[in-house]
Every structure is written in structure tokens, then in C-alpha cells.
Amino acid sequence: MSAVLKFLSRTQGKNGPALVDWISYIYLLLGFLIIFLPVLWLLLNSIKSQFLLQKLDTNILPLDYDRVVRATVFGPEGKEIFIMKDMPEWVIYWNELRDEDKKNENNPNEFISNYEGKEYYALRTHLGLVSDHAKKLIKQKNLPEWLIKYPSMFPDAKKEYDPQEFLTNLNEEEIRLMSEFLGIKPYKPNGFTSQILISAINPETNKLEEYSVSRLNNNKDTVNARLISNPQGGIVKLQTQDIIVNKKLRPSWINYSDPLTNNVRGMSFDAVKCLSNSLFVTIVATIITVLINSMAAFALSKYKFNGQIIFFIIILATLMVPASVLIVGIFKMVSMTGLNGSLWGVIIPGAATPTGVFMLRQYMLTIPDELLEAARMDAASEWSIYWKIVFPLALPAIAVLGILSIIWRWNDLILPMIAVSTTKTAYTIQLCLLDFQGEYVAQEHYRLAMTVVSLIPTTLVFVFLQRYITTGIANTGIK
């Protein structure tokens, strides 16, 4: 420990830090921050709730606000907006809760029975009870079965049925329920959105009052707020500096736990499958890449044969062809060889890389020929010269290639898109991440969290393999 301290506090100046020390430390710190801050930002954002992300929250920490609910209810009287306070957390976060938590810990039916009127309607929609109640009613009153399917029918199909005639026999409450369920005008699905609760001086009454706000942006001078005691009164503009906001640290771990347990609403996200596909591609492809490239480099650097230079130039020339030009060609090759939909279609097209061959060849040129001759005198076959002498001695370069290949394979999006985009079971993690940005749902909170998860392997690889880069070069055994 003291050795570490001593090492860290070493200075160039004899008494205390000199100018060079200051400059070096500032430089190191700056470099560290430039690299580290974006990662930190990603990490902290990955534990923000969906609510905060949708509000484009700019806080560094996942600080959640006091929330109120702005409810919108549609009925025969038209649209009515009101604020509901003192909702328990599980109700506010209902849509962010995991299914098992919803069922196990809370009882929405019991909760909702404490309310009536417009608040009851708003909660009924929010807690997802409309269809439950409606189905129960259909059973109870012996209404026709097709009513259950009616909300999910295509418009054309809906024309063949007329639900209106069945509503006449029901009482007012029941009509309302069925109308909400079936989507009959003027009943529309009720809105129930979380908003941020703030306090500020009301400019008209000069008293401290509570407001609800849909978005806070510290860079703007004013916030659009709605007075809680009079929500119908419309939006007022408040000075940002005058408002009082309550914040509470509340990391949203479900961002991680939901996708990892295949519990994402509206889609199936099989994290284990995605990650294991990526792992398979990365490991197998890296092994093949290292083997093929090092064998080619061995031949190019240690054997003399006709056309050696030509081969080398051709290999290097492929560096000049941009990858995007090759996409169509690779797609055709993959589908003609029947590899599409299989992970081998991702692995094989990228197995030999000109950069790898070039890098390893240059490194192997520095391995003295005498070592190979000594091995030949020692009755070694050409294969064991490669495998037991050249390969281990080229390990520092091979480790670099390995690390590059792992990172490239893990992050690659193009080859998986070409080869397996039509086969969901063969998706790699990068393709899976794309899925969170669906046509209708944008689940950024899951995407951020899973991006962090997908960074773990590459980070580990770097931590464990980087020592190979520095060792080895030092002990070339020729005196």
C-alpha cells in the first residue's frame, strides 16, 4: 500500500511537484476524463427509469422526482383533465413493474375499490383492469363471445358486427365499461401519465402552491406547469429558478432484470440466447481468424516461394476495398452456400483479414531464421515449427490480433445483418439491441442497460489480455 502511494506521489521536482509534474498530471487526468466520462454517463443513464429517459432528464444521477398523476378521462361530458395525488409508488410505476411483482405484491382490484367516478375510470384503465372487468361482465350477462375479440378485429371485420344492440340492456356503469373496452365513441381509452410535482409561488395569489410539470429542463428559463388545485385552468409559465423540486435517488434495476429474465413487454428478448450467440461467434471466429492469419503470415514471412511478393501485395490490396462495397458480394456468397441463417455465415466471411496477415507477417519477420533452422536440426516437422516455435513467439502480435478480432466480432452489426437478420434465433447481441427500437415501442431504458451488459465481455478481454501485449517482446532468446 505504502509502495503504491510512494509510486504515485513520485515527482520530477526534487522538492514538491515541478511544472512538468503538474502538466503530466493534468494531461493524464484530462485523458482519463475524456475516456471515462462517456462510459460513466452510459452507466448512470442505464439505471434511469423509462419515465426519466422519456422526459430527457439531464441529471447525472438517476434522481427521481415526486410524481403526481395527470389523468385524462373521456366520457359523454367530453374530455376531463384532473390531477391525482398521493398515489402509492406501485400504482405510479405500474407499467414499469415486473409481472410477478404486479401479481404477487399488490392487488389492484382492492385498491381501485377505494375510488369512484372519474378517478375510478382513470385507475381502471391504468391498472389494466378494463378488459378483465369487461370479460367478466360478458360471461355474467351471457353476452355473445365475439365481443371479447371485437377490440382486436380489423376494421373490415368490425363492420359485420354491431355491439350497440347488446349495450341497451345494461346499466350506465356497465355501458361505460363495455364502451371503453370496445372503443365506442365518445368513450376513448383514458390517459394516465406520471408528471413531476413541483412547488412554486403562484404569481396570482402570492402563495406557495403545487404544480405538475411534464418536463424539467434546467437550460430553459421557464417551465410549463399546471396548477394542481385547478388543473382545468390551463398551462402557466413559471421561472425555472423559482421552482422547488424534490428529488430522490431511485435507480431503476428493472432495466437490467427485465430483459435478462425475458420479461420485456411487447417483444421477446432472450438475453441468454443473444449473448450466447455472440459469444459463440466471437470465440470461434477469433480462433479461426488467429489460426488462418498466422499460418498465412508464417508462410509469407518464413518460406521462399515463387510469387511470394505477389501474394503479399494481393492480400494487402484487399485493404483498399471498402467494406461497404463487399456487402452485396458477401450476401450472395452466404446465401449461395446455404450459410444464411446460420452463425457460420457470420463467422466464415470475416475469418481472414488482410490487416491480421500483414501485422503478423511483420512481427514474424523479426523471429530469427536460425531458430527455425535449429528446430529443423532438432527433427521438427514444419507443422511443429509453426505450432511450437513460431506461434508462441508471435504471441504478443497474436494477442493484439485476438483482442482486435474479439472487439470487432462482438460489436459487428454488418455481418450478422447480412447473414442472420431473418433468423431470430441466430441474432447476436447487437441485432437484439436494435430490436428495442421497434416501430411502435422505444424502450431506451432496456437498450441502455443491455448495451452496458454487452460491454462487459470486451472490457474483461482487455483487462486480461493486455499483459500479453507487453510481455514476450522482451524475451527474444537470441542473445
Binding site: 524475451n475 532468446g477 542473445k479
Partner: protein, 340 residues
């Protein structure tokens, strides 16, 4: 145990011929040293024997078997390289075992041979170390050990001592000689250090520019060089050569016919009148036991003298130096030695 025969061997690199037809016979158990100036083709010849280099023309026979097309691995020879060429990523033990494992030898036999070699070369303590952790002399031993465990029919050495310091070189030289006495194998040893050649060899092969100038026992080469090159190459300091035209008449009379130059070794010159030359001393070096005089005689012919005593001769002095006629070597216009 094997004999080696080289018949009219030539070597071309592209169109450039570097070995111009060499004939040589090396007997079973002989310690044969190849000497010659840098670039004369010693390494190339040795590598052809080893099988690391193709033979352009001619034949190499081991135990009367032509081995031209047999790979290095199967010739059953072992070579010690100038740079040692130890496998840097393997421990000393693995370095020694590598060749034996390639021959699919049994583990017990490998262990036995390694132990024996380690004892012989006193390297038991560092069998587990990597070459990077050894001193130059220790690496040298491992390189020799790697050859010994193979129990080859012929040992090939390519300047194995040139990377050692002077003291260690002498010690290893003696050890190698003892090793040869003990193993009794045929050994071929390349060097351009003539002290090594003189002290170790049963037979010296003097090469120059891709050909063999002379083959013989060390003293034979010293006493009876067959040409001017060998005469100049063997012996230190170099033999003095004086052109016939600048010799005093008394000496010209005693020369055999067709002589073009006279060769006389510095240690055979002394300060006396018999067969004498007039010498302008330019530099005097006193080493205590010996003294060296450097100067010129008529026609700016450079001459050096080795005296085995301390002298009071000063620079810029003129002296007379003489020699016994028996010590003189005479050469004709092609540099071939003449017998007087």
C-alpha cells in the same frame, strides 16, 4: 561415429557462385576446424553439410551414403549456432527435450539423456530457467547440451565461441576439447580465430573465397604452408612478405629458382648479421615478456619482428635483422610455396 566426405561440392546463390568445388574427407572421430577470412563460405559449407542449404552441384556422403536429398531432420547431425538459437519461450530442459520429443523418444530415455548432459556440462541448477535468464556462457552450454542429447553422429559448430568474452572463450575452448576427447565423435568446427583452430584441431581446413587452400595438422600448416595465403593466415603476428627484387643480393643467391617473394615469420627474425636486412624501426611495443618492432626495409617493404626479451632499441633507429635460412619460405608468382 561417422565419416564425412565432400565431393566437388559447389553452391550458387542465384547466379553467384560462392563455393567453387570443394573436396574434403573427414575421418571418424576427427576434430576438423574450418578457418578462413569472413565471407569465404565456411558457414555455407557447414550448412550444406547440415542439410539447411541445398547443394548446387557435387555430393556429400556421410558414412559413404549420399545425403544430398535427405532432410536436415533425418541426417542425424546436430549443430551449435553462433547465436545459440535457443528457443526463448522454453525452459532449458524443454530446449534439450524438444529434439528428442520430435523423435518420439520415451520419456525415461529423454530424462536420462538430459540429466547426463546436464551433469556433463554442469547446468543442473538452471534446467528450469528460460534462456533469457542465463548468461552468455550458460547459454553456450545449453546450446552444446542440446547437441549432445541428440547423440549425433557428427557435431557441427558455427563459431560457437565468438559471442563470449576472451576469458570465457579460453575456458570453453578447453572444455570443448575435453568433451571431444570424451565423446570421441566427429566434430566440424567453424571459426575465424586461428588460436582456436591451432589449439583444438586434429585437422585444419583453410578456406579462401570458396575454395580450400590447404588441409593439414596445425603444425604442418604453420611449418609448411603450401601457399602464400595459408602462410599469411596462420600465425600471429602475420608472416612478413618481402618482394624478391628488394632483397639484398646475398639473399637472392640463396633463393630457389622462380622465387617472387620471401616469407619470414616475425618470431624467426632476430637482431644479427646472418642473412640480414636493413630495417628502419618506426614503432616499438614492449609487452614485458615480448617486444615487437615495426619498420620498413628497402622499397618500403613493411616488416614486423617479435623478440622474446626486452630491448633498448628506439624508434627511428636503423638495425640489421637476420634469420636462419631454414625458417624462410619462398613463393613463386602464383603464391605457391617453393622448396629450397
Amino acid at each position: 561415429m561417422a565419416t564425412l566426405e565432400i565431393k566437388k561440392v559447389r553452391k550458387n546463390y542465384g547466379t553467384l557462385e560462392v563455393i567453387h568445388g570443394i573436396d574434403l574427407f573427414i575421418n571418424n572421430g576427427e576434430f576438423c576446424v574450418l578457418v578462413g577470412p569472413s565471407g569465404c563460405g565456411k558457414s555455407t559449407l557447414l550448412r550444406m553439410i547440415a542439410g539447411l542449404e541445398q547443394i548446387t552441384k557435387g555430393d556429400i556422403l556421410i558414412d559413404n551414403q549420399v545425403v544430398n536429398n535427405i532432410s536436415a531432420a533425418r541426417r542425424g547431425l546436430a549443430m551449435v549456432f553462433q547465436s545459440y538459437a535457443l528457443y526463448p519461450h522454453m525452459s532449458v530442459r524443454q530446449n534439450l527435450a524438444f529434439g528428442l520429443e520430435n523423435l518420439k523418444m520415451k520419456i525415461e530415455e529423454i530424462d536420462r539423456r538430459i540429466l547426463e548432459a546436464a551433469r556433463l556440462l554442469r547446468m543442473e541448477e538452471y534446467l528450469q530457467r528460460k534462456p533469457g535468464q542465463l548468461s552468455g556462457g550458460q547459454k553456450q552450454r545449453v546450446a552444446i547440451g542440446r547437441a549432445i542429447v541428440r547423440e549425433p553422429s557428427i557435431y557441427l559448430f558455427d563459431e560457437p565461441l565468438s559471442n563470449l568474452d576472451a576469458e570465457l572463450r579460453v575456458a570453453t575452448r578447453v572444455e570443448l576439447k575435453a568433451l571431444h576427447a570424451r565423446l570421441g565423435n566427429t566434430m566440424i568446427y567453424v571459426t575465424h580465430d586461428q588460436v582456436e583452430a591451432m589449439t583444438m584441431a586434429d585437422k585444419i581446413v583453410v578456406m579462401n573465397d570458396g575454395i580450400i587452400e590447404q588441409v593439414g595438422a596445425p603444425l604442418e600448416l604453420y611449418n609448411k604452408p603450401s601457399n602464400k595465403f595459408v602462410a599469411g593466415f596462420i600465425g600471429s603476428p602475420k608472416m612478413n612478405f618481402i618482394q624478391f627484387d628488394y632483397l639484398p643480393n646475398s639473399l637472392k643467391e640463396k633463393a630457389p629458382p622462380n622465387s617472387i617473394s620471401l616469407g619470414i615469420r616475425p618470431e624467426h627474425l632476430s637482431i644479427k648479421d646472418e642473412n640480414s636486412l636493413l630495417l628502419n624501426v618506426e614503432t616499438v611495443e614492449q609487452l614485458g615478456s615480448d617486444s615487437f618492432l615495426y619498420g620498413t626495409t628497402s622499397g618500403e617493404q613493411k616488416i614486423s619482428i617479435k623478440l622474446n626479451y626486452q630491448t633498448d632499441i628506439q624508434a627511428n633507429q636503423s638495425i640489421k635483422v637476420g634469420f636462419k635460412l631454414d625458417d624462410a619460405h619462398w613463393f613463386d608468382k602464383d603464391g605457391i610455396a617453393l622448396t629450397s
